[in-house]
């Protein structure tokens, strides 16, 4: 096929940048540990000071940044390919909003205070409910449009219920906690969070990665793809549940982080010849680059303010969205 060598170069470059950003994320932080000391103490096994900070604070943060970035980039590319809609993103299926609702319920009821893993588990449960509702509404034969509409409906309902919880919150601290959680953050996550969310994310990746060839065929529309041997029911199942498992788990441990799933595929599509199967790995790596950079930036810009990563991605992402709409409009004219 055309441009196969250029495609390999793009993937190699993205992998290198991702690896570099992962290391940079490990050595960035308020503790001010030197570059070589930081990496050395990761392996030294020491229980005090640097080793503890590296293994208990920075390593889980960097790993989650990498995995959640991959999740957002991959699911964004898969959903845009499946729905053949350039504005599709993981939040569109109502997964992020419902996971947030689950988390909010856990905070609101005090469940998360009693049981530390209550919050991520409730968030995961929220995303499972959302995806079951979307799948039921769209039906087995449902096309891309019904999936979008069902997702929008679920999203709106979950957002409304979250607002209700905020509205009725008995104490201002719970409301503040809910607000902060919804902004999304990778601060103070532990390896427990990695072990909790990791398996779901990997499962989701495996389902989404299997979509490459069917998504290419879907470029020609659903009827043509079906006539070319694509099992549309299986594709819908893999796309919806793969996105739900990975994005639900990501949201459960880090809150709702917007725009990366929307932006990463758009940035990389021209570099891979627009072919959906090639965009999947490229966008996964691109998402990891974006999220790791954003997480490093939050620590550099305001080290003592705990700037939320979701706020930063939205500040950078929203203008990009404007530019995207502008460019699309110009193409249509």
């Amino acid at each position: 096929m055309i441009g196969a060598s250029r495609y390999r170069i793009v993937l190699a470059l993205l992998s290198a940048v991702t690896a570099a950003l992962f290391v940079l994320s490990l050595v960035t932080g308020p503790a001010g540990i030197g570059f070589s000391d930081a990496l050395a103490s990761l392996y030294s096994g020491g229980d005090q000071g640097a080793g503890l900070i590296m293994r208990e604070i920075r390593l889980p943060r960097a790993i989650l940044g990498l995995m959640i970035g991959i999740t957002l980039g991959l699911s964004g590319a898969a959903l845009q390919g499946y729905l053949r809609n350039p504005l599709a993103e993981p939040g569109l299926l109502g997964i992020s909003a419902s996971a947030s609702l689950g988390a909010v319920i856990a905070i609101y009821t005090g469940f998360s205070a009693v049981f530390p893993l209550g919050l991520p588990l409730a968030a995961l449960a929220g995303s499972v409910v959302a995806v079951l509702v979307v799948q039921a509404m769209a039906g087995a034969r449902g096309g891309a449009l019904t999936v979008i509409l069902a997702g929008v409906a679920v999203s709106s309902f979950a957002a409304a219920m979250t607002s209700l919880a905020l509205n009725l919150s008995p104490n201002p601290f719970a409301a503040l906690e809910i607000m902060f959680w919804m902004l999304g953050s990778l601060t103070d996550r532990s390896m427990t969070h990695v072990w909790l969310a990791g398996p779901f994310m990997v499962l989701g990746w495996a389902m989404l990665a299997a979509l490459g060839r069917p998504l290419d065929a879907l470029t020609l529309g659903e009827d043509a793809a079906a006539s070319m041997g694509v099992n549309l029911r299986l594709v819908q199942f893999l796309a919806v549940f793969g996105a739900a498992a990975s994005v639900g788990a990501a949201t459960a441990v880090a809150g709702a982080i917007g725009f990366i799933g929307l932006v990463a595929p758009h940035l990389l599509r021209p570099l891979v010849g627009s072919l959906p199967s090639r965009l999947l790995p490229a966008s996964a790596l691109g998402g990891a680059c974006l999220l790791l950079s954003a997480d490093i930036l939050t620590r550099i810009i305001a080290p003592d303010k705990d700037l939320k990563i979701g706020v930063l991605t939205a500040i950078i992402g929203a203008p990009f969205f404007v530019w995207l709409v502008y460019r699309m409009r110009r193409k249509l004219l």
Partner: protein
């Protein structure tokens, strides 16, 4: 051999019956023109034959019930060209044509020499080789149509179902396409194309199936199907029916029948 056999096919769309029990058999070497007025059920017939719509009745593809074969196996026997010319992403023309090989590829396998040869042939037949590196979504309507037909040809299936393949093509490319379809039939394949140009249908097809309001009104050789009386009752037109110098059939619609 029988490529496609449809018996008592019934389809309802949105609770409204659209096809009322259609039956026909398609053999190797036939180039069938599917004709009929707008809304007669031509596209529905093509889609239901492929199993893209829920239907009642029996459809047999290459001797096996269509319900018993997977989408992938079906794609090896039947290629389909939808009426909507959808190209979702600005992929290159060559990449788009190569999608026709989808059903023959497993996992992450790339294209082999046979695939490349079929893709090259399909592009050459549709005269799109010159712009194979351009983005398919930026081509003109007629060029897009040729690229999408090339994709269906690259699938290399014994049977091709094409929904209004000549729409948007200039006269030279319309004739070239009809001639290509009859070549495919001569090679032993089967082609079913829904058509609105009765002149093209009469001249190039070996057999015509005339559909009106969800039933087959006539099925046979063009000169038996296209009679002045049928054109009046089914299409509501008066037409000049004649013969060309080489003995082919000539149909020129003249005017709408005043009722």
């Amino acid at each position: 051999m029988t490529l496609l056999s449809v018996s008592d096919l019934r389809v309802s769309l949105g609770g409204k019956p659209v096809l009322h029990g259609l039956s026909f058999v398609l053999r190797e070497g036939e180039f069938v023109g599917l004709i009929g007025p707008n809304g007669a059920g031509k596209s529905t017939l093509l889609r239901a034959s492929l199993g893209l719509l829920p239907s009642e009745g029996a459809v047999t593809i290459a001797g096996r019930p269509s319900t018993a074969i997977s989408a992938r196996q079906r794609a090896l026997h039947v290629a389909y060209l939808p009426q909507e010319r959808e190209i979702g992403w600005p992929v290159s023309v060559e990449t788009l044509v190569s999608l026709g090989r989808t059903a023959r590829k497993r996992g992450f396998a790339g294209l082999d020499a046979t695939d490349r040869a079929r893709i090259g042939e399909a592009m050459a037949r549709m005269e799109i080789t010159d712009f194979r590196r351009r983005a398919a979504s930026e081509l003109s309507g007629g060029e897009k149509a040729r690229v999408l037909i090339a994709r269906a040809l690259a699938q290399d299936a014994p049977l091709l179902l094409a929904d209004e393949p000549t729409a948007g093509l200039d006269p030279a490319h319309q004739i070239a396409l009809m001639s290509l379809f009859s070549e495919l039939a001569a090679e032993g394949r089967g082609v079913v194309a829904s058509l609105h140009d009765l002149g093209l249908a009469a001249r190039w097809c070996s057999r015509l199936i005339l559909v009106d309001r969800g039933v087959i009104v006539a099925d046979g050789a063009p000169k038996d199907v296209l009679t002045a009386e049928r054109l009046r009752t089914v299409y509501g037109i008066d037409a000049h029916l004649g013969e060309t110098e080489d003995g082919g059939m000539l149909v020129v619609p003249l005017d709408v029948v005043r009722r």
